[in-house]
Amino acid sequence: MSDAVIGALIFLVKFFLLFAIISVFVLYATWYERKVIGHMQQRIGPKRVGWHGLLQPVADMIKAFFKEDSIPRDADKLFFWSAPVIGTVFAMMAALAIPFGPPLVLFGRHITLDVVHLPSGILYMLAMLSLVSFGVIFAGLSTKSKYPIIGAQREVAQVISYELILATALLNPVIMAGSLDLTKIVDAQSHLWFIFYQPVAFVCFLISMFAVSARVPFDLPEAENELVAGFMTEFTGMKFSLFYFAQYVVIFTVSMLAVIFFFGGWLGPSFLPPVAWLFIKWAFFIFLYTWSWGTFPRYRYDQLMNISWLILLPIVIINILWTGFAIQFGLPYLH
């Protein structure tokens, strides 16, 4: 077998493995979130389908399959059909570049644990993550219905608020690691995690992380108690589920980014394999999403814009200047 065929095979295996991981995560994230939110409100959550409701996501999926597929009469058919696909595809494409561990050497071959290994992986991921929002915007505009349009308008307002903070907050670890390669960024944290150098950048990233995945303090596009279901009001069945899928893939990806950039990725004591450490740290962020969902009320979108442009942006810019200054003049920095 030629080298290219083996390379393609490895790619396919890695791709389907990632797809399996993400699918299981999305299925059971819905169960887990309902369970945790329920207990936070002194309820039980899903309990009836299977042991402690563990088959609930499967039942939900079967239900979504057999739902009536309705399209509004005035909807723009092309965009209406493509909107859920756009969101899902770009979210999955962003997830392709996540490294799940240090590169392996298997049968004399050098195998990286991300599906596509890019020297500027973070740029690619940020680009794909911002394309996900086009799915939301198309969904809102194509239906020609009032609630989706308000949802799409809020999504636009949200995108121009968080995009900048997301990228600039990640710039600090990039400057410190001196690389855009996610594997090298993790390697640069082998002495001390970047959270201890960059707590301010981390808080800024955390805030924009909730905004990028449209979760509770900033779930403006689908404000359930104001806009029915926001941009996906008119979507039914599997198209509706695809939006959820895209949202959970974004949560998965962004939580991984937070771990890789600020919490040392797969680094940890050697009694557990690196992948285990990565997922333990990642689980903390997934819990943080649920925790904030059970706690916070929603911000208005003008408040979100004020937070990002008037408060976070100056802080992040000062932080970047300080980071550059400190590295240039060799201020206390463990090596």
């Binding site: 207990h39 409100q41 925790w291």
Partner: protein, 140 residues
């Protein structure tokens, strides 16, 4: 310190996360209703099993939605009692006026039988035979 409001909120929810849920899994576990609660009607009887109702018609008359219907019979000793006694529980508003107005304690409300939901409206029209069953702990 920063974000005091956010941290306080998060502390509350994490506290509740580890508290016991208050949910009662209804068909599996049931709460015992309070002793003085008033649910489905039932007809009172004397210790010898004779029905207490004397067909004075007060409950029929006082009932706001007019769901009670009595057809009397005259006994051998000249007294009257209810031959047929019918309550349409689907239309009853459970105001309890009939219980209050009854001079003979013949119609009462059960303190425990609250599960009489039905798929058929006609089955909610209770006849004398099914109304004779019931007990009220507060009256005992």
């Amino acid at each position: 310190m920063l974000f005091k409001d956010l941290r306080k909120g998060l502390a509350v929810t994490i506290g509740y996360l580890f508290r016991r849920p208050v949910t009662v899994q209804y068909p599996d576990e049931k709460l015992i209703p309070p002793v003085r609660s008033r649910w489905r009607h039932y007809l009172g009887v004397f210790p010898d099993g004779k029905i207490r109702c004397i067909d004075c018609g007060l409950c029929e008359r006082v009932c706001p939605p007019k769901v009670i219907k009595i057809i009397p019979v005259i006994n051998e000793d000249g007294t009257k009692s209810a031959g047929k006694y019918e309550i349409d529980l689907g239309r009853c508003m459970y105001c309890g006026f009939c219980v209050e107005v009854c001079p003979e304690l013949a119609i009462l409300m059960s303190s425990e039988d609250y599960e009489f939901a039905n798929y058929d409206r006609d089955k909610l029209v209770y006849q004398k035979e099914s109304l004779l069953k019931g007990r009220n702990k507060d009256n005992e």
